[in-house]
Subunit: 518 residues, 2 copies
């Protein structure tokens, strides 16, 4: 059996999805899940792009032991050095450097000629190799590159010491036949190509990312770059769970390949990412969508009862999908709670369990039955915080239903005096935010706002995700409650906590440079 | 150029998505959009499955002129006759009959042998042909069928007069190579196959539905079955917009093919379907997702400014994607409103415009600027209703933020006396629903509940979708408002209106039989 390396770029290319920005603490938590999932390489970020991004890579590198941790770098000395520095504490560091090889990118974006491109590739790869043994080189926009030049570029990278060569379909433009032709040519023409790992990295602009990735594997790629839930730039990257399960469910094509992925962790990691980013996969998303294993039609249900195989090529259990079950009530103890979390895939530390139990008791007091979704909402809220809680919601009362709504809010700041504000607004959330705005020490502007119900019922826990602009910076906030108005108020304060924390640090550290690519 | 027929099954297989159930009025409205989109065949439903479903097919058949309207039927006389009857008013009717051809389905589900299957196919197809000229036959689970038997089954259907032969990948199990092998064999072995249209119908359980559909076209299929947004059983069907745009964006493979799809209508129809079903495509869904054309990374943005082609293989304009723009305010007139709706792709009737304008003025009074999303929410709410408004919300006042919330609700029923109820609950929506529950004439249970913000800001219009079980039946409700508590209350009353209406009709007509398949 040949092993297919799974290179997860959820924290780098995935985080480039508008709305998917993660804090360092969130990235560390997701990295730990990716470790448990069994991915081979975690791309942690793009160290040079900002001090905050640099720090994220450092923290991720420190927090996992088994997987390789990669840092992205353009083909410049500054980028490569910064990546090497960020990866200092990684048990298995990799520098991932890249340069575009298509004429369109060389001429129009980089404004350099092909020879200059080759020189930069040689310098970047050998410079990286001088610092770290494991070096990956990506030919950005490979699928639109002139094939002869692509081969020359790959040859230079291999000769300079790259151990992995990645050929990305940067703009999601490839047909499987393009991937086949490209890989066959590179394998036939590049000297020493059999000593490096070939990799593909596909985007889903035409819905072909998974098919292209599988075609890559069929044609010699031994690494696939992908993301959980398929998040990423534009239409996203190839979805990790779909590639892994296609390899597993289609043994007639892929029985000579294996991955190290623990398939039962696919749904838990998908769910965690959705909580962290507020981006839920659509119900009919393959493998991890809420309906992926739901059979609605009577004929299907009838067939399933007679023989599950009639309409099921894999079972929900294989990928760790769970139905919604009511499990716990107010008389459930700490031990039962810990066990249920463990069954859901989360082994809580003693401190985490203390916190979760307090919230659970509060919730169980208000709801008759507590669902798995509620437990996850409890767990995710309040973990993974970067900033200490500076603002405290002392009191909230909102009247709504009629127009306008009005809100009374009392907030304290760092244990100081409680201040009160009242405001009217269009709906309860508008009124509440206007009142909080009166009390906030800075001007702020709401940029994004989403509500999700964790379960299905009217007393389900609602999760609010939002982002607020303060000065030039944007801060994300998140909170969960059975009362969505309360959740909204606390999500806003959560964002303000981060703004408060940032003010205490060097402001420049929080200006995101946003230079990520590939 | 060869034409690829687009067979849209959003109203049949798509509606089998849990949560995507549509009323007759909604189906008619979606069918009109599909007509404007340019699809060749609209599969309107499965007439025998329930009187309500029968009526939907009748109404859709009456409401469109250009496209073929198909009705699904198992391979039985009863099903076929019912489909023919439902299609009586269609300008271009098609009976779509099917039988499973895989041994697994024959033995375990249908419990018949292969000879009996062939007999049933012959009878169903010739019986359909006796009534309607245009007959499609589908070999359910074709991709898992024994190839020799599949060929025999197709031969029988062709000989019996089927003009379209569809080979579905019912369980989403096929690799493109399977599709290629199957189509090549059927084309080589079946006599008269060149006189019928071959069709593929792919499911996305492994993320391969689009690749499989394209492989089908490359191997002789001249019809693709697909759905808007890729909704459908489990992981859904092949996505219409992805297939159509792949054919268009990859001329190096597909320049000899064309479809009749008006690509600029892809995003509007996607948006309408999301409003109708409450199932929004995830942000990174190809073509129609909110981020499909969003470029987050600095390098990408930099490249785009220099030359859009560096990171863009198609433009948002090509598929009718619009950025969020603020367009209208309280001083905008009726004419400006009508023009903006027209620009968004909706030409409102005079009555629709009257209604929309009243709501617009109300909204413009409460919000400084009215966004396109708000206009769409206004338009979608209240159109496409099957039931007259029986319940009227006379007064609503809710206090929340603290635990518990309390609500005062006054409701009148069919112009009768106003009744008031008060209730407490866990959060404002729980309290409101409990109070309405006190006033409702029947026991009800909330089954589903989702909130979506139409725009991004805190005063965006929120849309609530829910479903309620009353007796044995489930009723969907929907409403939009800047006050989400108000929207929730009105969505619940909308569902109760439908329950009230159903009570007045024969109860049996509303018991869904749910027999759909393929």
């Amino acid at each position: 059996m040949e092993k297919i390396l799974v290179f997860d770029t959820t924290l780098r290319d995935g985080e480039q999805s508008p709305g998917a920005t993660m804090t360092t603490a969130e990235k560390v938590r997701v990295a730990q899940e990716l470790d448990a999932l069994g991915v081979d390489i975690i791309e942690a970020g793009f160290p040079v792009s900002s001090p905050q991004e640099f720090d994220s890579v450092v923290q991720v590198a420190k927090s996992v032991e088994r997987p390789i941790v990669a840092g992205l770098a353009r083909a410049t000395k500054q980028d490569v050095d910064k990546a090497a520095e960020a990866l200092k504490h990684a048990a298995h560091p990799r520098i991932h450097t890249f340069l575009a090889t298509s004429d369109l990118h060389l001429e129009r974006k980089l404004k350099i000629n092909r020879d200059e491109a080759l020189r930069r590739i040689e310098k970047a790869v050998s410079g990286a190799r001088a610092q770290i043994e494991d070096v990956e080189f990506s030919c950005e926009d490979a699928t639109r590159s002139d094939l002869d030049f692509l081969i020359r570029a790959v040859q230079v990278a291999v000769d300079a010491g790259a151990s992995t060569i990645n050929l990305p379909d940067t703009v999601g433009y490839a047909h499987p036949a393009d991937i086949e032709r490209m890989l066959q040519a590179v394998r036939a023409e590049v000297n020493g190509i059999d000593k490096v790992v070939l990799s593909v990295h596909c985007h889903d602009d035409l819905g072909l990312a998974v098919a292209n990735s599988l075609t890559g594997i069929e044609n010699g790629a031994r690494q696939v770059e992908c993301t959980v839930n398929g998040i990423g730039e534009r239409a996203g990257n190839a979805s990790l769970e779909e590639i892994v399960m296609a390899l597993r469910v289609l043994p007639r094509y892929y029985d000579r390949f294996m991955t190290s992925i623990v398939a039962e962790r696919l749904c838990p990691v998908s769910e965690m990412l959705a909580h962290v980013t507020g981006m839920k996969p659509q119900a009919n998303k393959a493998i991890v969508g809420a309906n992926a294993f739901a059979h609605e039609a009577g004929i299907h249900q009838d067939g399933l009862l007679k023989d599950r195989r009639t309409y099921e090529i894999m079972t929900p259990e294989m990928v760790g999908a769970r139905g919604s079950r009511l499990v716990l009530g107010k008389h459930s103890g700490r031990h039962a709670l810990a066990r249920r979390y463990s069954e859901l895939g989360y082994d809580l530390s003693s401190a985490e369990l203390d916190r979760a139990y307090d919230l659970f008791i509060l919730l169980a007091d208000r709801k008759k039955v507590v669902h798995d979704e509620d437990l996850l909402a409890i767990y995710f809220e309040g973990t993974m915080e970067d900033a200490p809680r500076a603002f405290k919601l002392e009191y909230l009362e909102v009247r709504c239903g009629r127009s306008p709504s009005d809100a009374v809010v009392r907030v304290s700041h760092n244990g100081g005096p409680v201040k009160e504000a009242t405001a009217t607004g269009d709906g309860p959330i508008d009124a509440t935010f206007s009142a909080i705005g009166e009390l906030a020490p800075w001007e702020m502007r709401l940029e994004e706002f989403t509500i999700q119900a964790a379960g299905g019922g009217k007393d389900a826990v609602g999760e609010v995700h939002l982002s607020v602009r303060v000065g030039g910076n944007e801060f994300a906030g998140r909170a969960a409650s059975t009362d969505i108005v309360d959740a909204a108020a606390r999500a806003l304060l959560n964002a303000l906590d981060k703004a408060d924390h940032a003010r205490g640090l060097e402001a420049r550290a929080f200006a995101r440079m946003d230079l990520w690519a590939v």
